[in-house]
Symmetry: C2
Subunit: 371 residues, 2 copies
């Protein structure tokens, strides 16, 4: 987190219907529209972690009997399929290997097979570090008359997210990744087309907290604000400050910074003799899944790095459990200092297990990309 | 908010799977058990505002075809009925006038009529300031083989909540009322009996984020923690600090303080010629619904008090819209200073509309109760 975001969290709590707070709500909505490239979408922060955005998208756009095509190439696609089943939808999953992007050809095949209400996929798979082609997948959805749901939890703020250019229908994210605000809120965008689909529903969404119509009666702001939930005031102060920080730097500048830090980290990892899980062309700069070398106790490496360097490296999930480490370079942690710290800590932990690695060479390789 | 709670929000964010954070999670669970009088319940804070607790209780305990009896004596009973319908339940509402407590005789009649899975009611109606008899209502639920759901959003920390003594099955609350932490979390307790009922469900709960089994795979802590949602770390720092503050004061001392501040406020209001909506025996000390005198522009009073005194008074909801003001004396705002501030501001705003009131007499009446 940026110290400015942490400081913002401590501002005095005011009422969720206070006019001063309502001005802040409007600021946040406008900032999210800009960040998501969504000038015509309704953009609001949901009052719960990123998963709430996923649930809001699924539960508002699907009702019993609807067909949903869900691309699964990691942990979060699987989660969407689970939720769509709870919404009463007929769920068709399109599977790709963990670490690979979603294959548009397979998705098209699934869309062709029957009329489909929703195509859902993950833009940036946090469990693998793979980036899928959001523009191509949203285009397929349009072509076959489906609404698109795009998970941008890990992408937003780190790589471009452009709802208008993609013509995406529902986009959601989290605050704790590249926005560097604490976890607990889920930025959410919905197209006019998706809003019309909700208005035409036969039954109410199965989730009250994430019911878009009720949410907008509070967040919409036209014709006054009707109480729905009590907005998490202080968390929203933090999100607001993180958006101010991002626009101070500039969105494009932030994307370039993430890309550069990734290149430096990747160069250092390569110099250490380590390999990344994902092919270069589909890699996310902000989430680096590193293959655990043979004979290395991966949990011991994470524990060492956490205890000796106060640095947390993520474990592998699902089929990648024990096989990869996941290194985040997100928002305020995408800096040269963090890249060097991480490489230093990782080399030390590997060396402690007898892995041959020359820390000086590793840092030199990373520094060459930072020059 | 207490300054200590606000300061806690700014502590450095650590990972939601970090061992240090997991120790904090265990502390919070134990503190909630103590606060809710629920040593044998599973107690966790849900990562969203109080409504999430309501949704978790309804969606986990009800499935399609179940009969639910829901007592409605204000805005929040109505919300529970809406949610129960979304869960697919057969919903029977038992209505009482807004401002009155739930009538156990009517509830018994509804329970008698057919086998019932759940009885749900609001302990402390935030929309009216009425307190219902939780012990009697939970006892009725047991008698007729139903599980009880008790909304304690406004009661927890302000008046006794005793899950074990009531033999209540699901209890939920919010952090922004008498706990004086920012909005955004929902303390939640579930009995062993309710957990067994969830284990016996025929289909999955319709809400993924509030799915109790999934929540406990992260919060349960036995056999390790499986990632479900990303816990709102900084908000949980705030909740933890608010619980520390409450136990420093002592639960009983906090209840006595709320009762005393209410008596002082009520004496001042009476001296001002104002009346409370709720009969004395069913009043909540922490939520005082004041009847708007004839000829007074109630919105203008609230605006005056907010602009001139930085003090927010709540408006009436539903059938009470325009008819009452709602004055909270909760947690850190249940102090003699707040009582005097509120009475002073209210008298000034009323006088500005030509209402005859002697501010000095009003404060004297309040002070007599504070001596």
């Amino acid at each position: 987190m940026s110290p400015r975001v942490l400081a913002a969290l401590s501002r005095p709590t005011i009422g969720h219907l206070d006019p001063e707070f309502q001005a802040l709500m409007e600021d946040i909505k406008a900032a999210l529209q800009r960040l998501m490239g969504a000038p015509d979408h309704a953009c609001i922060p949901l009052p719960a972690p990123g998963t709430a955005g996923m649930e809001a998208a699924i539960m508002n756009l699907l009702e019993p009997g609807d067909r949903a095509v869900i691309a699964v190439n990691g942990a979060f696609g699987g989660r969407m399929a689970d939720m769509a089943g709870r919404a009463g939808a007929e769920v068709v999953t399109v599977e790709d290997e963990w670490g690979k992007p979603v294959d548009p050809a397979k998705v098209e095949e699934a869309l062709k097979a029957a009329p489909t209400k929703v195509l859902a996929f993950v833009h940036a798979e946090t469990s693998t570090g793979a980036r899928s082609d959001a523009a191509a997948l949203c285009k397929l959805a349009r072509q076959y008359g489906a609404l698109s749901i795009v998970d941008t939890v890990t992408s937003l703020g780190g790589i471009p997210v452009d709802a208008a250019a993609w013509d995406a229908d529902a986009i959601y994210s989290g605050t704790q990744k590249c926005l560097s605000a604490p976890p607990g809120l889920s930025p959410f965008a919905l197209s006019k087309r998706a809003q019309a689909a909700i208005a035409a529903r036969k039954e109410k969404p199965r989730n009250w907290l994430c019911d878009f119509g009720l949410l907008m009666s509070y967040w919409g702001g036209e014709g006054g604000r009707t109480y729905h939930h009590t907005a998490p005031i202080n968390a929203l102060y933090g999100l607001h400050e993180s958006l101010v920080l991002l626009f101070e730097e500039g969105q494009q500048a932030a994307y370039v910074r993430h890309a550069r830090m990734h290149e430096a980290l990747a160069a250092g990892l390569e110099a250490a003799g380590l390999k990344l899980l994902v092919d270069a062309e589909h890699r996310l700069p902000q989430l680096n899944a590193v293959l655990v070398p043979d004979g290395i106790d991966e949990a011991a490496v994470r524990t060492h790095v956490l205890k000796a360097w106060d640095l947390e490296i993520g474990a592998g999930l699902g089929p990648l459990k024990g096989k990869v480490w996941r290194i985040g370079l997100m928002g305020a942690s995408a800096t040269p200092w963090h890249v060097r710290l991480c490489l230093t800590a990782l080399c030390e932990a590997l060396a402690a297990q007898g892995f041959k690695v020359n820390g000086a060479e590793v840092l030199k390789a990373a520094d060459a990309k930072l020059a």
